[in-house]
Point group: C2
Chain length 197, copies 2
């Protein structure tokens, strides 16, 4: 193991985003990222298995947060309260610097199918984590699945707005507003005899 | 372009599944797959951009089928009828030989994170296609999103049972049963004041 490098992960993220923005994702090598970050390639590969994971660092923490949020909700929480608890816990990770990262990252993601594929995989891992946590509390696999889809849809829709706009509302506000709107939409759909269009 | 090879895609699929089952996904090369199929590597790469796509061939057709199903539904179809129409159209692709392919493929998928990641990406593409088709019919993005999640969840859950069991029920039956069960679960969840557990 190499010597300890202060904030190596953050330095690699900033270096990677700079280089991807300048030269594109495909044209940037891990050697260039390490060099820009003032680190060795060995240190990079000690921290990340591949170039893509530099960008998605912190996703493991998101899985842990959403799970903990559901697990720590009051024993008498309703199904919807459990989802809200998971999403509120998740939101805690969304600091202002992550908002800036999101703004830089969005056009890079749009430019690379390889990155989008990994992003979709991460979304799927987050959905599964929420689904499993809900399943343990609710004991109903279908309810857990439906609620996890709804919650993660709210999370991503809220994230998209949070990154796009510039105001003082918190990340949590956007996600919970979106959750409520999706729940309304679902309620309308699942009322017997509802008609589309 | 090479000369025409009868059922080259099917031959490559069968060769790939045989080799993945025998030696594992990672240890199998595209050269070995082409050789086993009695084709050249050039023909393989003319048909598929990479090793993974051999396994997921036909996914583009699924996207087209689910979209067409929604588009061709009666003008007065309810939101739930639109989803059913999409899923019924999708089911038409699920012939008995696909059931066999699924049985061979499942343990291979379980063994490779690279393949699972691509499978998740394909599920996401199918969800987006259904979501967009529903959006064009319903004019409500949130309803379209919620319904697409529900429909694709039903499709994958139905597929899982269809591959696992051995009986005479059709693929469509499994998917529509699962859709109805998920809709019940959603109805219970979205009834005001519902309590979990």
């Amino acid at each position: 193991m190499g010597r300890w490098e202060p904030d190596a992960q953050g330095r690699l993220l900033r270096a990677a985003l700079e280089l991807f923005s300048e030269h594109g994702y495909d044209a940037t090598t891990t050697a260039q990222i390490a060099e820009r970050a003032g680190l060795t390639k060995t240190t990079l590969f000690r921290l990340f298995p591949d170039k893509r994971e530099i960008v998605f660092q912190g996703q493991g923490r998101l899985v842990a947060l959403v799970t903990a949020g559901v697990e720590e909700a009051p024993v008498d929480a309703s199904a919807e309260e459990l989802v809200r608890a998971g999403l509120c816990s998740l939101s805690a990770a969304h600091t202002p610097d992550l908002r800036e990262t999101g703004r830089t990252l969005d056009p890079i993601l749009a430019s690379s199918e390889e990155l989008r594929e990994r992003a979709v995989f991460k979304r799927s891992a987050l959905t599964s984590a929420l689904e499993q946590a809900l399943m343990r509390r609710l004991g109903d696999a279908r309810q857990a699945g439906v609620l996890a889809d709804l919650g993660i849809r709210a999370y991503y829709a809220g994230y998209e707005i949070w990154v796009a706009v510039e105001d003082q509302r918190s990340f949590t506000d956007y996600v919970l507003d979106e959750l409520a709107a999706l729940q309304d939409a679902a309620r309308q759909l699942h009322t017997a005899g509802s008609r589309g269009a």
